[in-house]
Point group: C2
Chain length 402, copies 2
Amino acid sequence: MSLVADPGVRRARAWLSRAFEPGSVDVWRFVERTGPVAAVQSLLRGSAPAEVQALAGRRAGADLSEEDLHRADRCGGRLVVPEDDEWPAVALHCLTLTAHDLPTVRREQPDRTAALVPPVALWVRGDRPLDELVDRSVALVGSRASTAYGEHVAAELAHGLGQQGWTTVSGGAFGIDAAAHRGSLSAGAATVAVLACGIDRAYPSAHSTLFTRVLDDGLLVSEWPPGCAPLQHRFLVRNRLIAALTRGTVVVEAAARSGAQATANRARDLGKSVMVVPGPVTSAMSVGCHELLRARDADRHAVLVTSAAQVLQEVGRLGEDLATPAERPGSPRDSLSDIARRVLDACPVRIGVPPERLAAVAGCEVVDVLRVLPVLELHDLVEWTGTGWRVRREPPAGRLAP
Amino acid sequence: MSLVADPGVRRARAWLSRAFEPGSVDVWRFVERTGPVAAVQSLLRGSAPAEVQALAGRRAGADLSEEDLHRADRCGGRLVVPEDDEWPAVALHCLTLTAHDLPTVRREQPDRTAALVPPVALWVRGDRPLDELVDRSVALVGSRASTAYGEHVAAELAHGLGQQGWTTVSGGAFGIDAAAHRGSLSAGAATVAVLACGIDRAYPSAHSTLFTRVLDDGLLVSEWPPGCAPLQHRFLVRNRLIAALTRGTVVVEAAARSGAQATANRARDLGKSVMVVPGPVTSAMSVGCHELLRARDADRHAVLVTSAAQVLQEVGRLGEDLATPAERPGSPRDSLSDIARRVLDACPVRIGVPPERLAAVAGCEVVDVLRVLPVLELHDLVEWTGTGWRVRREPPAGRLAP
């Protein structure tokens, strides 16, 4: 039987998720220290530490937690809290580590959109358990203004990952996000869309059908309670969750200084793999990708990937999921000695010539020519015309100029 | 006055360049030890070390050196030898270092096509001094079966390098080689084509017009005497020269296991910069490029480049030629505090709302809202309707969803 949190704890975390914009290390530390129920009680009394009380502001006055839980329930959703077995504790552990390292003085703390702090709870819509779905998952992120190339590659990667039983995690936006979900769905695999609005909202509305398909076998996830609007700053805060929930982040197309680059940097800061798909250098939508690949900060740098197999090589467990390097069919030439190659190149195409002539052209002794001719003949590379040696008229495949 | 080698030395090196296929460390060491004139004398007498005598084979019987020098002269060429001032000693010093490190036992030596050994002499056609032209030069190499994308990028890079006074060095093949020469010529810059045949031969013959244009302000260079055929193994031997003569090698398009990859590996082994232009992962002609970028051997790895400025950043002298990172025009949002961004996102588009409402939506105190509203108004991001605050109808450029 799986562990399910106390209803009071769940309601307290629902209250906290509405009272505070996520990403505040002060709020997270306060809740960690006092526990969610006591934290809510002191906030309602107005007796919480001043900096935390101020962050809730007017929102501390109202209690919509019961209503929010009902709204989630009505759309087939639920609130998953750290006290649940379903909480993706392994994946999110990285955020706990980074949050502990953040400065205690407010002025020295990073901007809330960049602070690597765990969520107080996650609103989840869909039937599958969150922790199972993200255990073997990869984030696929990129531009909304993607090109046909980027969408093709995103769909191919997600499809390939899905075929190997890996979950694709992305946002819910147009472009790369949507292509990634579609590619994964086409492989019959689960996908997770991490939203910057309530799980009961379809944003953008053109994606309501896509979200319905995601829900068939996957999840919609959000830090914000039902009904919340996709405000701009929320996307930036949300990006750290996409990076944290997965084993690694793949950037497919990104303009210069884009949100996808920000997600990649979060993944790097969380110690997760950062993978980047290159593109034409003539495409503005690959500029951000190429900047990531050019950045050489210390030993942690982004890895270029071109296939799902290469993605799995980065994030897969040791011994499984190994990519084979790109190959070209071998040529019989490859196995030849230097002298044999020179003699072969010295052979004319039409008229056969004697070994003495081959030795002069190849720059070696006649005895060497006589030594290598049988090898060349064995490989069907040369033939005896009756009067001399020449290149075989129909050489096997692979015999091309270098 | 520049130093010009003794006619006897030049003739001896002309003889050596016909007697031996380049790339043999034994031959190079023998010539280094005894000097070119004495080396030729002992080879003609048959008294050279057995391994060297055997490499010359039948070729040691004839002396075409005078004829070769005449043939070069007739096509406007010359033989440049290490004893000349024009010899690119600085660039080729790397080959001297690697040749010294090669094993003395023949069996342990690398294949001649891979051995990093200096040339005994260079046949050069064109008016400009070789050492001057290659002092600030970059190799641009890639596939013969290039795509329109690859040719466009090769021409753009060569053009950009040419505009900054840099010489492009390449082979004479179809595809990327030709596009690189054309791009450089279009900038009125010098190019150097390093051939795998005699400098009096146009190979491929369709490039005879291109080579004529190269000769207007650049050079054709070869290790092989006039009349020599472009035998297949010679291209592989030639590749080390392209890598050695330049400050760095840029691979534009390369199939898996291609000659361009081999040139890049030579450049790496010689301690020169290796730069790679990425391309669509869907293109077979970029597979070799992406493999180079994925290879992570020790700390020496290929650098992704997308522009001539980035190439110059790698090979240029310190303080000159610095590339600026890709940029996006800054948005007024970027400079806002967290609270200001939240208040801005809380502002409705049409109807103005009072600060109390903004505080509730943004999740902060009313006093914070009143503090940041003047900043937002100053940035033309919000406006007062007479009854409340709303987003300014025509926001300045850069205000886009993340």
